[in-house]
Symmetry: C2
Subunit: 329 residues, 2 copies
Protein backbone atom coordinates (compact mmCIF):
# COMPACT_ATOMS: atom_id res chain seq x y z
CA UNK A 1 0.00 0.00 0.00
CA UNK A 2 1.00 3.60 -0.48
CA UNK A 3 0.65 5.41 2.79
CA UNK A 4 3.40 3.89 4.88
CA UNK A 5 6.18 6.33 4.10
CA UNK A 6 5.93 8.57 7.13
CA UNK A 7 8.88 10.83 7.93
CA UNK A 8 10.63 9.11 10.86
CA UNK A 9 10.94 12.47 12.60
CA UNK A 10 7.17 13.14 12.52
CA UNK A 11 5.39 13.75 15.81
CA UNK A 12 1.70 12.96 15.77
CA UNK A 13 -0.22 12.25 12.58
CA UNK A 14 -2.78 13.76 10.23
CA UNK A 15 -5.89 12.64 12.14
CA UNK A 16 -5.20 13.12 15.84
CA UNK A 17 -4.08 16.41 17.34
CA UNK A 18 -1.16 17.41 19.52
CA UNK A 19 -2.38 19.15 22.69
CA UNK A 20 0.96 20.97 22.94
CA UNK A 21 0.14 23.07 19.83
CA UNK A 22 -0.48 26.76 20.56
CA UNK A 23 -1.59 29.20 17.89
CA UNK A 24 -0.59 32.86 18.16
CA UNK A 25 -2.28 35.53 16.09
CA UNK A 26 0.04 38.41 15.25
CA UNK A 27 -2.20 40.15 12.70
CA UNK A 28 -2.16 43.49 14.49
CA UNK A 29 1.51 43.34 15.51
CA UNK A 30 3.00 42.28 12.17
CA UNK A 31 0.37 44.39 10.43
CA UNK A 32 1.66 47.39 12.38
CA UNK A 33 4.76 47.23 10.18
CA UNK A 34 2.53 47.93 7.16
CA UNK A 35 0.61 50.96 8.44
CA UNK A 36 2.74 52.30 11.30
CA UNK A 37 0.40 50.68 13.82
CA UNK A 38 -2.52 52.89 12.80
CA UNK A 39 -5.31 50.34 13.23
CA UNK A 40 -8.72 51.57 14.36
CA UNK A 41 -9.92 50.25 17.71
CA UNK A 42 -12.80 48.50 15.94
CA UNK A 43 -10.43 46.53 13.73
CA UNK A 44 -8.32 45.38 16.69
CA UNK A 45 -11.45 44.41 18.58
CA UNK A 46 -12.73 42.46 15.55
CA UNK A 47 -9.48 40.49 15.41
CA UNK A 48 -9.64 39.87 19.16
CA UNK A 49 -13.23 38.64 19.02
CA UNK A 50 -12.53 36.41 16.01
CA UNK A 51 -9.44 34.87 17.61
CA UNK A 52 -11.26 34.29 20.89
CA UNK A 53 -14.16 32.58 19.11
CA UNK A 54 -11.76 30.57 16.92
CA UNK A 55 -9.91 29.06 19.87
CA UNK A 56 -6.65 30.86 19.10
CA UNK A 57 -4.37 30.70 22.15
CA UNK A 58 -2.60 34.07 22.02
CA UNK A 59 -3.14 37.38 20.31
CA UNK A 60 -0.28 39.82 19.88
CA UNK A 61 -1.48 43.40 20.11
CA UNK A 62 1.57 45.25 18.93
CA UNK A 63 4.99 46.50 19.95
CA UNK A 64 6.12 47.77 23.31
CA UNK A 65 8.35 50.44 21.82
CA UNK A 66 10.33 53.18 23.49
CA UNK A 67 8.83 56.66 23.11
CA UNK A 68 12.39 57.96 23.16
CA UNK A 69 13.07 56.06 19.93
CA UNK A 70 9.69 56.39 18.20
CA UNK A 71 7.44 59.43 18.28
CA UNK A 72 3.80 58.99 19.23
CA UNK A 73 3.08 61.45 16.41
CA UNK A 74 4.40 59.04 13.79
CA UNK A 75 2.71 55.86 14.97
CA UNK A 76 -0.63 54.55 16.14
CA UNK A 77 -1.21 53.14 19.63
CA UNK A 78 -0.16 49.56 18.73
CA UNK A 79 3.44 50.69 18.44
CA UNK A 80 3.53 51.34 22.19
CA UNK A 81 0.77 49.14 23.63
CA UNK A 82 0.18 51.36 26.63
CA UNK A 83 -1.95 49.73 29.26
CA UNK A 84 -4.79 52.25 28.81
CA UNK A 85 -4.98 51.61 25.06
CA UNK A 86 -5.08 47.86 25.58
CA UNK A 87 -7.78 48.07 28.25
CA UNK A 88 -9.85 50.48 26.13
CA UNK A 89 -10.12 47.88 23.36
CA UNK A 90 -9.90 44.57 25.21
CA UNK A 91 -11.59 45.55 28.45
CA UNK A 92 -10.60 44.93 32.05
CA UNK A 93 -12.45 41.70 32.64
CA UNK A 94 -10.70 38.33 32.31
CA UNK A 95 -9.90 37.96 28.64
CA UNK A 96 -10.82 35.02 26.48
CA UNK A 97 -7.33 34.39 25.15
CA UNK A 98 -3.83 35.29 26.27
CA UNK A 99 -2.37 38.60 25.11
CA UNK A 100 1.18 39.23 24.03
CA UNK A 101 3.30 42.18 23.00
CA UNK A 102 6.55 42.24 21.07
CA UNK A 103 9.54 44.08 22.45
CA UNK A 104 12.50 44.84 20.19
CA UNK A 105 15.37 44.16 22.52
CA UNK A 106 17.18 47.46 22.02
CA UNK A 107 14.22 49.75 21.44
CA UNK A 108 12.17 49.08 24.56
CA UNK A 109 12.36 50.88 27.91
CA UNK A 110 11.45 47.68 29.66
CA UNK A 111 12.51 48.65 33.15
CA UNK A 112 9.83 51.34 33.18
CA UNK A 113 7.37 50.46 30.39
CA UNK A 114 6.77 46.81 31.22
CA UNK A 115 4.73 46.78 34.41
CA UNK A 116 4.61 43.94 36.89
CA UNK A 117 2.30 41.26 35.49
CA UNK A 118 -0.39 41.84 38.15
CA UNK A 119 -0.81 45.42 36.90
CA UNK A 120 -1.16 44.49 33.22
CA UNK A 121 -3.56 42.73 30.88
CA UNK A 122 -0.54 41.34 29.03
CA UNK A 123 0.32 37.67 29.53
CA UNK A 124 3.39 37.20 27.39
CA UNK A 125 6.33 39.34 26.31
CA UNK A 126 7.99 38.30 23.06
CA UNK A 127 11.50 39.63 22.69
CA UNK A 128 12.84 40.18 19.16
CA UNK A 129 16.54 40.56 18.50
CA UNK A 130 19.39 39.97 16.07
CA UNK A 131 22.22 37.56 16.78
CA UNK A 132 24.55 40.25 18.12
CA UNK A 133 21.89 41.50 20.52
CA UNK A 134 21.32 38.25 22.42
CA UNK A 135 22.84 39.36 25.74
CA UNK A 136 20.68 42.50 25.83
CA UNK A 137 17.63 40.54 24.75
CA UNK A 138 18.15 38.02 27.53
CA UNK A 139 18.29 40.86 30.04
CA UNK A 140 14.87 41.90 28.78
CA UNK A 141 13.67 38.28 28.95
CA UNK A 142 14.84 38.02 32.57
CA UNK A 143 13.19 41.32 33.46
CA UNK A 144 9.85 40.21 31.97
CA UNK A 145 10.18 36.73 33.44
CA UNK A 146 10.86 38.14 36.90
CA UNK A 147 7.84 40.44 36.56
CA UNK A 148 5.67 37.37 36.04
CA UNK A 149 5.24 37.12 32.26
CA UNK A 150 5.56 34.21 29.90
CA UNK A 151 8.43 34.99 27.55
CA UNK A 152 9.66 34.09 24.08
CA UNK A 153 12.80 34.97 22.22
CA UNK A 154 12.38 35.63 18.49
CA UNK A 155 15.83 35.58 16.91
CA UNK A 156 15.56 37.34 13.55
CA UNK A 157 17.41 37.12 10.23
CA UNK A 158 18.95 33.74 10.99
CA UNK A 159 19.14 32.93 7.28
CA UNK A 160 22.15 35.25 7.16
CA UNK A 161 23.88 33.97 10.28
CA UNK A 162 26.60 31.32 10.29
CA UNK A 163 25.64 27.95 11.68
CA UNK A 164 28.43 28.21 14.25
CA UNK A 165 27.16 31.55 15.55
CA UNK A 166 23.57 30.32 15.55
CA UNK A 167 24.47 27.25 17.62
CA UNK A 168 26.39 29.39 20.07
CA UNK A 169 23.37 31.68 20.32
CA UNK A 170 20.97 28.81 20.93
CA UNK A 171 23.21 27.35 23.65
CA UNK A 172 23.22 30.70 25.48
CA UNK A 173 19.47 31.14 25.10
CA UNK A 174 18.86 27.61 26.39
CA UNK A 175 20.39 28.66 29.72
CA UNK A 176 18.02 31.63 30.10
CA UNK A 177 14.56 31.57 31.74
CA UNK A 178 12.83 32.07 28.36
CA UNK A 179 9.82 29.76 27.83
CA UNK A 180 9.71 29.54 24.03
CA UNK A 181 12.43 29.95 21.41
CA UNK A 182 11.16 31.05 17.99
CA UNK A 183 12.48 30.00 14.62
CA UNK A 184 11.93 33.18 12.56
CA UNK A 185 12.16 33.29 8.77
CA UNK A 186 12.50 37.08 8.50
CA UNK A 187 13.12 37.18 4.76
CA UNK A 188 10.83 34.35 3.65
CA UNK A 189 13.90 32.65 2.24
CA UNK A 190 13.64 29.27 3.96
CA UNK A 191 12.45 26.16 2.17
CA UNK A 192 10.66 23.32 3.95
CA UNK A 193 13.92 21.31 3.86
CA UNK A 194 15.91 24.09 5.52
CA UNK A 195 13.06 24.75 7.96
CA UNK A 196 13.13 21.06 8.90
CA UNK A 197 16.88 21.10 9.46
CA UNK A 198 16.77 24.26 11.54
CA UNK A 199 13.71 23.24 13.55
CA UNK A 200 15.34 19.93 14.45
CA UNK A 201 18.40 21.81 15.67
CA UNK A 202 16.29 24.26 17.69
CA UNK A 203 14.25 21.39 19.15
CA UNK A 204 17.31 19.35 20.16
CA UNK A 205 18.83 22.22 22.05
CA UNK A 206 15.64 23.72 23.53
CA UNK A 207 13.75 20.57 24.47
CA UNK A 208 16.65 19.33 26.60
CA UNK A 209 16.48 22.68 28.43
CA UNK A 210 12.74 22.24 29.04
CA UNK A 211 11.71 24.88 26.52
CA UNK A 212 9.28 24.89 23.62
CA UNK A 213 10.03 25.97 20.05
CA UNK A 214 7.86 28.23 17.89
CA UNK A 215 7.87 29.29 14.25
CA UNK A 216 7.19 32.64 12.58
CA UNK A 217 7.22 32.37 8.78
CA UNK A 218 6.95 34.88 5.93
CA UNK A 219 5.28 34.24 2.61
CA UNK A 220 7.76 35.61 0.07
CA UNK A 221 7.95 32.26 -1.72
CA UNK A 222 4.40 31.10 -0.88
CA UNK A 223 5.98 28.83 1.74
CA UNK A 224 4.83 30.41 5.02
CA UNK A 225 2.08 27.83 5.57
CA UNK A 226 4.19 24.96 4.21
CA UNK A 227 7.15 25.84 6.45
CA UNK A 228 4.84 26.23 9.46
CA UNK A 229 3.30 22.77 9.05
CA UNK A 230 6.71 21.27 8.25
CA UNK A 231 8.00 22.63 11.56
CA UNK A 232 4.97 21.52 13.55
CA UNK A 233 5.16 18.05 12.03
CA UNK A 234 8.52 17.45 13.67
CA UNK A 235 7.64 18.95 17.04
CA UNK A 236 7.50 22.76 16.92
CA UNK A 237 4.50 23.75 19.01
CA UNK A 238 4.03 27.56 18.99
CA UNK A 239 2.68 28.61 15.62
CA UNK A 240 2.41 32.24 14.49
CA UNK A 241 -0.23 33.16 11.94
CA UNK A 242 -2.14 36.24 10.81
CA UNK A 243 -5.65 36.53 9.48
CA UNK A 244 -5.68 36.75 5.67
CA UNK A 245 -1.87 36.62 5.84
CA UNK A 246 -1.64 40.27 6.95
CA UNK A 247 1.91 41.42 7.60
CA UNK A 248 4.85 43.34 6.27
CA UNK A 249 5.71 42.67 2.66
CA UNK A 250 4.57 39.24 1.54
CA UNK A 251 2.84 38.73 4.85
CA UNK A 252 2.68 35.73 7.12
CA UNK A 253 1.26 32.24 7.46
CA UNK A 254 -2.50 32.72 6.90
CA UNK A 255 -4.53 31.82 9.99
CA UNK A 256 -7.33 30.40 7.83
CA UNK A 257 -4.95 27.90 6.23
CA UNK A 258 -3.46 26.91 9.56
CA UNK A 259 -6.80 26.40 11.34
CA UNK A 260 -8.01 24.40 8.34
CA UNK A 261 -5.07 22.05 8.89
CA UNK A 262 -5.15 21.65 12.67
CA UNK A 263 -7.34 18.88 14.07
CA UNK A 264 -7.89 20.03 17.65
CA UNK A 265 -11.67 20.52 17.88
CA UNK A 266 -11.14 23.64 19.98
CA UNK A 267 -10.07 25.46 16.81
CA UNK A 268 -12.83 26.87 14.60
CA UNK A 269 -12.10 28.50 11.26
CA UNK A 270 -15.59 30.03 10.93
CA UNK A 271 -15.09 33.21 13.01
CA UNK A 272 -11.88 33.87 11.07
CA UNK A 273 -13.71 33.66 7.73
CA UNK A 274 -16.32 36.07 9.01
CA UNK A 275 -13.63 38.46 10.21
CA UNK A 276 -11.96 38.39 6.78
CA UNK A 277 -15.23 39.43 5.16
CA UNK A 278 -16.06 42.14 7.68
CA UNK A 279 -12.68 43.57 8.69
CA UNK A 280 -9.95 42.43 6.29
CA UNK A 281 -11.62 43.00 2.91
CA UNK A 282 -12.28 46.64 3.90
CA UNK A 283 -8.66 46.99 5.13
CA UNK A 284 -7.48 45.59 1.79
CA UNK A 285 -8.93 48.59 -0.03
CA UNK A 286 -6.48 50.94 1.72
CA UNK A 287 -3.56 48.74 2.71
CA UNK A 288 -1.37 46.44 0.61
CA UNK A 289 0.33 43.25 1.66
CA UNK A 290 0.80 39.71 0.44
CA UNK A 291 2.70 37.64 -2.08
CA UNK A 292 3.99 39.60 -5.05
CA UNK A 293 6.89 39.17 -7.48
CA UNK A 294 9.24 41.73 -5.85
CA UNK A 295 8.86 40.02 -2.45
CA UNK A 296 9.51 36.67 -4.11
CA UNK A 297 12.73 38.09 -5.52
CA UNK A 298 14.01 39.39 -2.16
CA UNK A 299 13.08 36.01 -0.64
CA UNK A 300 15.04 34.17 -3.33
CA UNK A 301 18.03 36.45 -2.73
CA UNK A 302 17.73 36.09 1.06
CA UNK A 303 17.38 39.86 1.44
CA UNK A 304 15.27 42.07 3.70
CA UNK A 305 11.99 43.01 1.94
CA UNK A 306 12.71 46.74 2.20
CA UNK A 307 13.98 47.00 -1.39
CA UNK A 308 10.82 45.26 -2.62
CA UNK A 309 8.65 47.63 -0.59
CA UNK A 310 10.46 50.60 -2.16
CA UNK A 311 10.09 49.12 -5.64
CA UNK A 312 6.36 48.57 -5.17
CA UNK A 313 5.92 52.11 -3.88
CA UNK A 314 7.48 53.33 -7.13
CA UNK A 315 4.61 51.59 -8.98
CA UNK A 316 7.07 50.13 -11.47
CA UNK A 317 6.33 46.68 -12.87
CA UNK A 318 9.79 46.18 -14.35
CA UNK A 319 10.38 42.92 -12.47
CA UNK A 320 13.39 42.01 -14.58
CA UNK A 321 14.98 45.36 -13.77
CA UNK A 322 14.35 44.79 -10.07
CA UNK A 323 15.82 41.28 -10.30
CA UNK A 324 18.96 42.64 -11.94
CA UNK A 325 19.23 45.35 -9.28
CA UNK A 326 19.04 42.70 -6.57
CA UNK A 327 21.70 40.61 -8.32
CA UNK A 328 24.03 43.58 -7.98
CA UNK A 329 22.83 44.51 -4.50
CA UNK B 1 25.84 21.50 14.26
CA UNK B 2 22.37 22.05 12.90
CA UNK B 3 22.26 21.00 9.30
CA UNK B 4 22.61 17.25 9.52
CA UNK B 5 18.97 16.29 9.67
CA UNK B 6 18.39 15.46 6.03
CA UNK B 7 15.30 13.43 5.12
CA UNK B 8 16.65 9.91 4.44
CA UNK B 9 14.46 9.71 1.35
CA UNK B 10 15.97 12.85 -0.22
CA UNK B 11 17.58 12.55 -3.64
CA UNK B 12 20.17 15.19 -4.38
CA UNK B 13 20.70 18.26 -2.23
CA UNK B 14 20.15 22.01 -2.15
CA UNK B 15 23.34 22.99 -3.99
CA UNK B 16 23.83 20.53 -6.85
CA UNK B 17 21.18 19.80 -9.45
CA UNK B 18 19.54 16.63 -10.69
CA UNK B 19 19.93 16.31 -14.48
CA UNK B 20 16.77 14.14 -14.57
CA UNK B 21 14.57 17.14 -13.67
CA UNK B 22 12.32 18.32 -16.53
CA UNK B 23 10.15 21.42 -16.24
CA UNK B 24 6.89 21.58 -18.17
CA UNK B 25 5.06 24.86 -18.67
CA UNK B 26 1.29 24.39 -18.89
CA UNK B 27 0.32 28.09 -18.68
CA UNK B 28 -1.68 28.06 -21.90
CA UNK B 29 -3.20 24.61 -21.36
CA UNK B 30 -4.33 25.01 -17.74
CA UNK B 31 -5.10 28.66 -18.48
CA UNK B 32 -7.46 27.47 -21.20
CA UNK B 33 -9.75 26.27 -18.42
CA UNK B 34 -10.08 29.90 -17.28
CA UNK B 35 -10.94 31.57 -20.57
CA UNK B 36 -12.18 28.73 -22.79
CA UNK B 37 -8.82 28.63 -24.57
CA UNK B 38 -9.26 32.12 -26.01
CA UNK B 39 -5.64 33.25 -25.85
CA UNK B 40 -4.37 35.61 -28.53
CA UNK B 41 -1.58 34.25 -30.72
CA UNK B 42 0.73 36.94 -29.35
CA UNK B 43 0.23 35.76 -25.79
CA UNK B 44 0.96 32.13 -26.67
CA UNK B 45 4.04 33.19 -28.59
CA UNK B 46 5.22 35.30 -25.63
CA UNK B 47 4.93 32.27 -23.33
CA UNK B 48 6.74 30.11 -25.88
CA UNK B 49 9.59 32.59 -26.28
CA UNK B 50 9.92 33.06 -22.50
CA UNK B 51 9.97 29.32 -21.83
CA UNK B 52 12.49 28.70 -24.60
CA UNK B 53 14.78 31.42 -23.24
CA UNK B 54 14.31 30.20 -19.66
CA UNK B 55 15.45 26.66 -20.44
CA UNK B 56 12.03 25.12 -19.76
CA UNK B 57 11.93 21.60 -21.24
CA UNK B 58 8.33 21.32 -22.45
CA UNK B 59 5.51 23.71 -23.19
CA UNK B 60 1.94 22.46 -23.28
CA UNK B 61 -0.09 24.35 -25.87
CA UNK B 62 -3.57 23.20 -25.00
CA UNK B 63 -6.05 20.37 -25.34
CA UNK B 64 -6.52 17.98 -28.23
CA UNK B 65 -10.30 17.91 -27.85
CA UNK B 66 -12.91 16.28 -30.02
CA UNK B 67 -14.90 18.68 -32.17
CA UNK B 68 -17.81 16.29 -31.78
CA UNK B 69 -17.80 17.02 -28.01
CA UNK B 70 -16.81 20.71 -28.03
CA UNK B 71 -17.90 23.31 -30.55
CA UNK B 72 -15.26 25.45 -32.23
CA UNK B 73 -17.70 28.34 -31.72
CA UNK B 74 -17.43 28.05 -27.94
CA UNK B 75 -13.67 27.76 -27.58
CA UNK B 76 -10.47 29.28 -28.86
CA UNK B 77 -7.90 27.34 -30.89
CA UNK B 78 -6.01 25.96 -27.86
CA UNK B 79 -8.93 23.68 -27.08
CA UNK B 80 -8.23 21.70 -30.24
CA UNK B 81 -4.55 22.36 -31.03
CA UNK B 82 -4.93 21.80 -34.73
CA UNK B 83 -1.64 21.48 -36.53
CA UNK B 84 -2.20 24.66 -38.54
CA UNK B 85 -2.86 26.72 -35.41
CA UNK B 86 0.25 25.38 -33.73
CA UNK B 87 2.45 26.03 -36.76
CA UNK B 88 1.03 29.52 -37.20
CA UNK B 89 2.24 30.52 -33.74
CA UNK B 90 5.28 28.33 -33.18
CA UNK B 91 6.52 28.08 -36.76
CA UNK B 92 7.67 25.12 -38.82
CA UNK B 93 11.37 25.25 -38.05
CA UNK B 94 12.90 23.08 -35.32
CA UNK B 95 11.53 24.41 -32.07
CA UNK B 96 13.55 25.47 -29.07
CA UNK B 97 11.72 23.31 -26.55
CA UNK B 98 9.48 20.26 -26.77
CA UNK B 99 5.76 20.77 -27.27
CA UNK B 100 2.97 18.83 -25.61
CA UNK B 101 -0.80 18.67 -25.78
CA UNK B 102 -3.24 17.27 -23.29
CA UNK B 103 -5.84 14.73 -24.37
CA UNK B 104 -8.78 13.95 -22.09
CA UNK B 105 -9.05 10.22 -22.51
CA UNK B 106 -12.74 10.11 -23.37
CA UNK B 107 -13.07 13.40 -25.22
CA UNK B 108 -10.40 13.03 -27.88
CA UNK B 109 -10.75 11.54 -31.38
CA UNK B 110 -7.23 10.30 -31.20
CA UNK B 111 -7.39 7.81 -34.03
CA UNK B 112 -7.99 10.66 -36.46
CA UNK B 113 -6.91 13.86 -34.67
CA UNK B 114 -3.49 12.77 -33.44
CA UNK B 115 -1.29 12.54 -36.53
CA UNK B 116 1.78 10.37 -36.85
CA UNK B 117 4.64 12.14 -35.08
CA UNK B 118 6.54 12.88 -38.28
CA UNK B 119 3.59 14.99 -39.51
CA UNK B 120 3.26 17.05 -36.30
CA UNK B 121 5.14 19.70 -34.34
CA UNK B 122 3.96 17.99 -31.16
CA UNK B 123 6.49 15.94 -29.18
CA UNK B 124 4.47 14.63 -26.27
CA UNK B 125 0.86 13.61 -25.67
CA UNK B 126 -0.32 13.86 -22.08
CA UNK B 127 -3.39 11.75 -21.39
CA UNK B 128 -5.72 12.87 -18.57
CA UNK B 129 -8.26 10.50 -17.05
CA UNK B 130 -10.15 9.51 -13.92
CA UNK B 131 -9.58 6.21 -12.16
CA UNK B 132 -12.49 4.44 -13.91
CA UNK B 133 -11.20 5.53 -17.33
CA UNK B 134 -7.75 3.95 -17.14
CA UNK B 135 -8.33 1.22 -19.75
CA UNK B 136 -9.55 3.77 -22.31
CA UNK B 137 -6.74 6.16 -21.39
CA UNK B 138 -4.15 3.44 -21.90
CA UNK B 139 -5.57 2.77 -25.36
CA UNK B 140 -4.94 6.44 -26.13
CA UNK B 141 -1.44 6.17 -24.61
CA UNK B 142 -0.66 3.16 -26.83
CA UNK B 143 -2.01 4.91 -29.90
CA UNK B 144 0.16 7.99 -29.26
CA UNK B 145 3.16 5.86 -28.32
CA UNK B 146 2.85 3.81 -31.51
CA UNK B 147 2.61 7.02 -33.56
CA UNK B 148 5.99 8.05 -32.16
CA UNK B 149 5.15 10.46 -29.28
CA UNK B 150 6.43 10.66 -25.77
CA UNK B 151 3.48 10.00 -23.47
CA UNK B 152 2.34 10.73 -19.93
CA UNK B 153 -0.67 9.61 -17.96
CA UNK B 154 -2.20 12.24 -15.66
CA UNK B 155 -4.55 10.46 -13.29
CA UNK B 156 -6.90 13.08 -11.82
CA UNK B 157 -8.84 13.47 -8.57
CA UNK B 158 -6.82 10.83 -6.73
CA UNK B 159 -7.51 12.52 -3.40
CA UNK B 160 -10.98 10.96 -3.61
CA UNK B 161 -9.89 7.50 -4.68
CA UNK B 162 -9.32 4.59 -2.28
CA UNK B 163 -5.75 3.55 -1.75
CA UNK B 164 -6.61 0.02 -2.93
CA UNK B 165 -8.07 1.28 -6.20
CA UNK B 166 -5.17 3.69 -6.71
CA UNK B 167 -2.61 0.90 -6.24
CA UNK B 168 -4.48 -1.32 -8.67
CA UNK B 169 -4.52 1.55 -11.15
CA UNK B 170 -0.80 2.20 -10.80
CA UNK B 171 0.02 -1.48 -11.30
CA UNK B 172 -1.96 -1.53 -14.55
CA UNK B 173 -0.39 1.72 -15.76
CA UNK B 174 3.10 0.40 -14.96
CA UNK B 175 2.57 -2.35 -17.57
CA UNK B 176 1.70 0.17 -20.33
CA UNK B 177 4.18 1.89 -22.67
CA UNK B 178 3.62 5.28 -20.96
CA UNK B 179 6.84 7.19 -20.27
CA UNK B 180 5.80 9.35 -17.32
CA UNK B 181 3.12 8.85 -14.65
CA UNK B 182 1.84 12.08 -13.10
CA UNK B 183 0.79 12.64 -9.52
CA UNK B 184 -2.03 15.18 -9.94
CA UNK B 185 -3.52 17.17 -7.06
CA UNK B 186 -6.71 18.19 -8.86
CA UNK B 187 -8.37 19.85 -5.88
CA UNK B 188 -5.32 21.39 -4.21
CA UNK B 189 -6.14 19.31 -1.17
CA UNK B 190 -2.82 17.52 -0.65
CA UNK B 191 -0.37 18.52 2.06
CA UNK B 192 3.39 18.04 1.72
CA UNK B 193 3.11 14.98 3.99
CA UNK B 194 0.46 13.35 1.82
CA UNK B 195 2.31 14.37 -1.33
CA UNK B 196 5.43 12.67 0.05
CA UNK B 197 3.53 9.47 0.87
CA UNK B 198 1.86 9.34 -2.53
CA UNK B 199 4.98 10.27 -4.48
CA UNK B 200 6.95 7.51 -2.77
CA UNK B 201 4.24 5.04 -3.74
CA UNK B 202 4.18 6.28 -7.33
CA UNK B 203 7.98 6.16 -7.51
CA UNK B 204 8.23 2.63 -6.12
CA UNK B 205 5.82 1.24 -8.67
CA UNK B 206 6.89 3.32 -11.68
CA UNK B 207 10.66 3.32 -11.24
CA UNK B 208 10.76 -0.50 -11.20
CA UNK B 209 8.88 -0.39 -14.52
CA UNK B 210 11.45 2.03 -15.98
CA UNK B 211 9.14 5.03 -15.91
CA UNK B 212 9.48 8.53 -14.54
CA UNK B 213 7.05 10.27 -12.18
CA UNK B 214 5.76 13.83 -12.56
CA UNK B 215 3.73 16.20 -10.38
CA UNK B 216 0.97 18.68 -11.23
CA UNK B 217 -0.11 20.70 -8.19
CA UNK B 218 -2.85 23.25 -7.53
CA UNK B 219 -2.56 26.22 -5.22
CA UNK B 220 -5.80 26.15 -3.24
CA UNK B 221 -3.92 26.00 0.06
CA UNK B 222 -0.82 27.90 -1.08
CA UNK B 223 0.94 24.55 -1.28
CA UNK B 224 1.44 24.05 -5.03
CA UNK B 225 5.09 25.09 -4.91
CA UNK B 226 5.72 23.37 -1.57
CA UNK B 227 4.18 20.09 -2.78
CA UNK B 228 6.15 20.30 -6.03
CA UNK B 229 9.50 20.69 -4.29
CA UNK B 230 8.54 18.07 -1.71
CA UNK B 231 7.89 15.61 -4.54
CA UNK B 232 11.05 16.50 -6.43
CA UNK B 233 13.12 16.16 -3.26
CA UNK B 234 12.31 12.47 -3.05
CA UNK B 235 12.75 11.70 -6.75
CA UNK B 236 9.86 13.01 -8.84
CA UNK B 237 11.42 14.46 -11.99
CA UNK B 238 8.73 15.96 -14.28
CA UNK B 239 7.52 19.23 -12.77
CA UNK B 240 4.50 21.16 -14.05
CA UNK B 241 4.39 24.90 -13.51
CA UNK B 242 2.67 27.93 -15.01
CA UNK B 243 3.93 31.46 -15.35
CA UNK B 244 2.50 33.69 -12.59
CA UNK B 245 0.57 30.61 -11.39
CA UNK B 246 -2.00 30.93 -14.21
CA UNK B 247 -4.59 28.16 -14.15
CA UNK B 248 -8.11 27.22 -13.24
CA UNK B 249 -9.27 28.39 -9.84
CA UNK B 250 -6.38 28.88 -7.45
CA UNK B 251 -3.95 28.20 -10.24
CA UNK B 252 -0.79 26.13 -10.33
CA UNK B 253 2.78 25.99 -9.10
CA UNK B 254 4.27 29.34 -10.21
CA UNK B 255 7.11 28.90 -12.71
CA UNK B 256 9.00 31.84 -11.21
CA UNK B 257 9.10 30.17 -7.78
CA UNK B 258 10.17 26.84 -9.27
CA UNK B 259 12.96 28.26 -11.43
CA UNK B 260 14.15 30.29 -8.43
CA UNK B 261 14.56 27.00 -6.56
CA UNK B 262 16.17 24.81 -9.23
CA UNK B 263 19.95 24.90 -9.45
CA UNK B 264 20.56 23.64 -12.99
CA UNK B 265 22.32 26.58 -14.70
CA UNK B 266 20.35 25.91 -17.87
CA UNK B 267 17.29 27.42 -16.16
CA UNK B 268 16.97 31.21 -16.19
CA UNK B 269 14.19 33.02 -14.33
CA UNK B 270 14.80 36.35 -16.10
CA UNK B 271 12.77 35.76 -19.30
CA UNK B 272 9.88 34.57 -17.13
CA UNK B 273 9.93 37.79 -15.09
CA UNK B 274 9.91 39.81 -18.28
CA UNK B 275 7.01 37.77 -19.64
CA UNK B 276 5.02 38.40 -16.45
CA UNK B 277 5.46 42.15 -16.89
CA UNK B 278 4.67 42.18 -20.60
CA UNK B 279 2.05 39.45 -21.05
CA UNK B 280 0.64 38.35 -17.68
CA UNK B 281 0.00 41.70 -16.00
CA UNK B 282 -2.12 42.76 -19.01
CA UNK B 283 -3.95 39.39 -18.94
CA UNK B 284 -4.64 39.92 -15.24
CA UNK B 285 -6.77 42.98 -16.03
CA UNK B 286 -9.32 40.81 -17.85
CA UNK B 287 -8.89 37.34 -16.40
CA UNK B 288 -9.00 36.15 -12.79
CA UNK B 289 -7.12 33.28 -11.22
CA UNK B 290 -5.05 32.54 -8.14
CA UNK B 291 -5.35 31.87 -4.42
CA UNK B 292 -8.55 33.12 -2.86
CA UNK B 293 -10.59 32.13 0.19
CA UNK B 294 -13.31 30.18 -1.70
CA UNK B 295 -10.64 28.05 -3.44
CA UNK B 296 -8.96 27.47 -0.09
CA UNK B 297 -12.28 26.21 1.25
CA UNK B 298 -12.86 23.72 -1.60
CA UNK B 299 -9.26 22.57 -1.16
CA UNK B 300 -9.79 22.02 2.56
CA UNK B 301 -12.98 20.07 1.82
CA UNK B 302 -11.27 18.06 -0.94
CA UNK B 303 -13.85 19.24 -3.46
CA UNK B 304 -13.65 20.26 -7.12
CA UNK B 305 -13.18 24.06 -7.41
CA UNK B 306 -16.35 24.48 -9.47
CA UNK B 307 -18.44 25.61 -6.47
CA UNK B 308 -15.79 28.21 -5.62
CA UNK B 309 -15.76 29.44 -9.20
CA UNK B 310 -19.56 29.82 -9.10
CA UNK B 311 -19.37 31.62 -5.74
CA UNK B 312 -16.76 34.07 -7.03
CA UNK B 313 -18.82 34.74 -10.15
CA UNK B 314 -21.70 35.75 -7.87
CA UNK B 315 -19.41 38.48 -6.43
CA UNK B 316 -20.45 37.55 -2.90
CA UNK B 317 -17.86 37.86 -0.15
CA UNK B 318 -19.85 35.87 2.41
CA UNK B 319 -17.04 33.38 3.02
CA UNK B 320 -18.68 31.97 6.12
CA UNK B 321 -21.86 31.30 4.16
CA UNK B 322 -19.84 29.54 1.46
CA UNK B 323 -18.02 27.48 4.11
CA UNK B 324 -21.32 26.38 5.63
CA UNK B 325 -22.66 25.50 2.18
CA UNK B 326 -19.60 23.33 1.55
CA UNK B 327 -20.04 21.64 4.94
CA UNK B 328 -23.47 20.54 3.78
CA UNK B 329 -22.37 19.79 0.23
Amino acid sequence: MLLHHRDDAAKGNLVEFRPDIKVLDCSVRDGSLVNNARFEDGFVRAVYDACAAAGVDYMELGYKSSQRVFSVNDYGPWKFCKEDDLRRVIGDSPHALKLSVMADSHRTDYHTDILPKDQSVIDMVRVACYIHQIPGALDLVRDAHDKGYETTLNLMSISRVSERELCDGLEVIAKSPVDVMYLVDSFGSLYPETTRDLAMGYLEIMKSAGKEVGIHAHNNQQLAFANTIQALTIGVSYLDATIYGLGRGAGNCPMELLLGFLRNPKFDIRPILNCITNAFLPLRTTTEWGYDIPYMITGQFNEHPREAIKFLESESTDYLGFYKAMEDF
